[in-house]
């Protein structure tokens, strides 16, 4: 079912948590709400499922406004961060609970529980109690319990946060598989960009109660709308550097290079303050010589090696290169940047290249 938020705002007392948020989620789509903690993403989730009242605006399921529909009647499936399984009930009873509340026939419940528990591979655990299950198994139970009554939308609040690293990787693809198999509309709340990028069709990145950008994961990475998005997405993170435009040149305190025609044609003016952003993979010895400084820190990561380069004015630019360590700590180097992939931001932090440039209120 299609979910629409229109000018949705939420205040807690005097505190404005969400301000005029617009979001449309297509039927069958999985959208990740991504952002640092305190950005309002969980508040948004709780407003959709009815735990929080909304201060103003509208929430629609399909074309029905559900602002005043009680939580019980919204038919929203929620997976909480701590799973919230009912500890005194067996797994079977946990999964069957929403069906029993709906007074469904016993045989029908039996059949559904069997079918759904097989889908996630927990049909051999039905007689156990939640505390005897591992984290991953509890996660599956929570997921199935949310899905079994065929909800309009599935909401997941940091569903992988309580799992260990290996299991998180597996559950990532498993949740995605189940979501696609059931074709359910899903919203995932997470602060982990990798989780958001790998699991969702689109990402809505939030900061300070506002959506900064809604894009597919790939677009989010290559075409961030502003410095916040650019800085939040990508690991290891992007490096920023401040400077001004002087006669077709970007001039910083310790770096200077000529900007391309394409950049200059975006309406930037002489002496305008600019900030460039360059992702670590676009800083490399073969690309030129404008990045000059000494290697401050080296992180070997096996397949790749990450170098922190300190320029002469003390600012740091990161570079990641395939293969093992080739340079020494403290070594002076002169590397370059791939100019096609340098992002240029204006003084408001907006990406002047972005398709979205100038389309919505500034940061």
């Amino acid at each position: 079912m299609k979910i629409i938020l229109k000018k949705f705002s939420k205040n807690f007392g005097q505190v404005e948590v969400i301000k005029d948020m617009d979001l449309e989620i297509e039927s069958g789509e999985m959208v990740a709400l991504l952002g640092p903690s305190g950005c309002g993403k969980t508040t948004t989730l709780f407003a959709i499922c009815g735990i929080h009242n909304i201060t103003s605006g509208q929430i629609l399921f399909g074309d029905r406004v559900i602002n005043n529909v009680p939580t019980q009647e919204r038919n929203v499936g929620v997976v909480f961060q701590n799973y919230a399984l009912y500890p005194h009930l067996t797994i079977y009873e946990n999964i069957a609970f929403p069906l029993r509340i709906r007074k469904m026939e016993k045989s029908e419940i039996d059949q559904l529980v069997q079918e759904y528990s097989e889908m996630v591979g927990i049909s051999n655990l039905l007689s156990r109690r939640p505390m005897h299950l591992s984290g991953g198994q509890q996660q599956r139970v929570a997921l199935v319990r949310a899905l079994i009554r065929k909800p309009n939308v599935l909401l997941m609040d940091e569903p992988l946060a309580n799992l260990d690293a290996a299991l998180r990787l597996r559950m990532r693809s498993e949740i995605r598989r189940i979501q696609q198999e059931t074709g359910i509309t899903a919203i995932l709340v997470t602060h982990d960009q990798v989780e958001a990028m790998s699991m969702s069709d689109r990402i809505a990145i939030m900061n300070d109660g506002k959506i900064q950008q809604i894009s597919t994961p790939t677009e989010m990475y290559s075409d961030p709308k502003n410095t916040f998005v650019a800085g939040f997405i990508g690991n290891p993170p992007i490096s920023f550097y401040n400077g001004v435009l002087q006669k077709n040149y970007f001039v910083g305190t310790a770096m200077k290079f000529e900007l391309s025609e394409a950049t200059l044609s975006n309406g930037i003016q002489e002496e305008q303050k600019l900030e460039i952003g360059v992702r670590p993979e676009y800083v490399h010895p073969n690309f030129g010589d404008e990045v000059e400084g000494k290697i401050l820190f080296i992180e070997p990561q096996g397949r790749e090696t990450l170098y922190d380069i300190e320029l002469d004015d003390g600012q740091v630019i990161r570079s990641i290169q395939m293969g093992s360590q080739q340079y020494q700590m403290g070594e002076r180097i002169q590397w370059g940047m791939d100019h096609k992939n340098i992002l240029v931001f204006d003084e408001n932090g907006e990406n002047i290249f972005s398709k979205l440039y100038g389309t919505s209120p500034k940061l």
Partner: protein, 276 residues
């Protein structure tokens, strides 16, 4: 090894310290079934004469069985009232957004700190005005309301340990708030309910001042009042009888306690609610 030793030492110390208690209890049980000797600490012969109160009604006293029944009704009703009201009020104070919640909680604590004796005269006058003086109902209401502040606080503590998400999850699953409370939350605070019912049962079984002052007539008497009445006889006090009645009075609580003391400890263990 060291730990083992220190365990043994503390066991010995505890034993020595509680020795007077053991001796007291030993002679208590001994005296109840024997004719005491006047010149020796050992009794003369076995007898059941002290237990005559079970079969015959003592002069100037109500029947022991009616008194026992009264005490049972009294304790049972207090437990029931305390359980129902504490479990609902505790839930409301723990979960529902309501005005003056913290003030309410503070006031409850204040109520709990009032010794019932200090309220006695006021309660007496009020009961007389509303016509509940000298009735078991009146005493039950008073005792239950004095137990409530403690019960509500305890239950609130137990509710606080139940993860909020469990409740929200139940609501998402389509259950009403009441169904969630009844089917999902209550089973998780069962240890608290058990502990609270034991606690208030023992407390009301042992209650003396309230029934003594507020329901003094013979047909309303509880065991504590009956027992005290034996002491204030104008003739010489029959200590054998007194002890036998005392044992009879104590027995249910002792048996009850043996089976339930572990659950009772839940109250002091900071709430034994389950973890989500």
């Amino acid at each position: 090894m060291e730990k083992h030793n220190s365990n043994r030492i503390s066991t010995i110390i505890l034993f020595v310290l509680s020795l007077p208690l053991f001796i007291l209890y030993f002679f208590f049980f001994l005296d109840v079934f024997t004719v005491p000797s006047t010149d020796s600490i050992w009794p003369e012969s076995f007898t059941l004469v002290h237990w005559r109160f079970l079969t015959e009604t003592l002069s100037g006293k109500p029947s022991i069985w009616i008194t026992t029944l009264n005490t049972l009704i009294f304790s049972g009703c207090v437990v029931a009232i305390v359980l129902v009201l504490s479990s609902t009020a505790g839930y409301a104070l723990s979960r529902l957004k309501m005005p003056y919640r913290s003030q309410l909680l503070g006031t409850l604590l204040l109520l709990h700190s009032f010794p019932s004796v200090s309220l006695l005269i006021a309660i007496f006058i009020i009961l007389q005005m509303i016509g509940l003086y000298d009735s078991l109902v009146g005493v039950i209401i008073i005792k239950a309301s004095l137990e409530l502040p403690f019960g509500i606080w305890i239950m609130k503590g137990f509710y606080d340990t139940v993860p909020w998400e469990i409740e929200m999850s139940g609501v998402q699953d389509g259950a009403s708030r009441f169904t969630v409370w009844y089917k999902l939350i209550l089973p998780q605070i069962y240890p608290g309910l058990a502990a609270l019912s034991i606690f208030s049962f023992i407390s009301s079984w042992g209650e003396y001042v309230l029934p003594f002052v507020l329901a003094p007539s013979a047909e309303q008497q509880t065991l504590s009042v009956y027992l005290a009445g034996l002491l204030s006889e104008t003739t010489a006090v029959d200590y054998g009888l007194l002890k036998a009645v005392g044992l009879f009075y104590m027995l249910p609580v002792m048996i009850f306690y043996i089976f339930t003391h572990e659950k009772l400890m839940n109250i002091y263990g900071g709430g034994g609610g389950s973890k989500g």
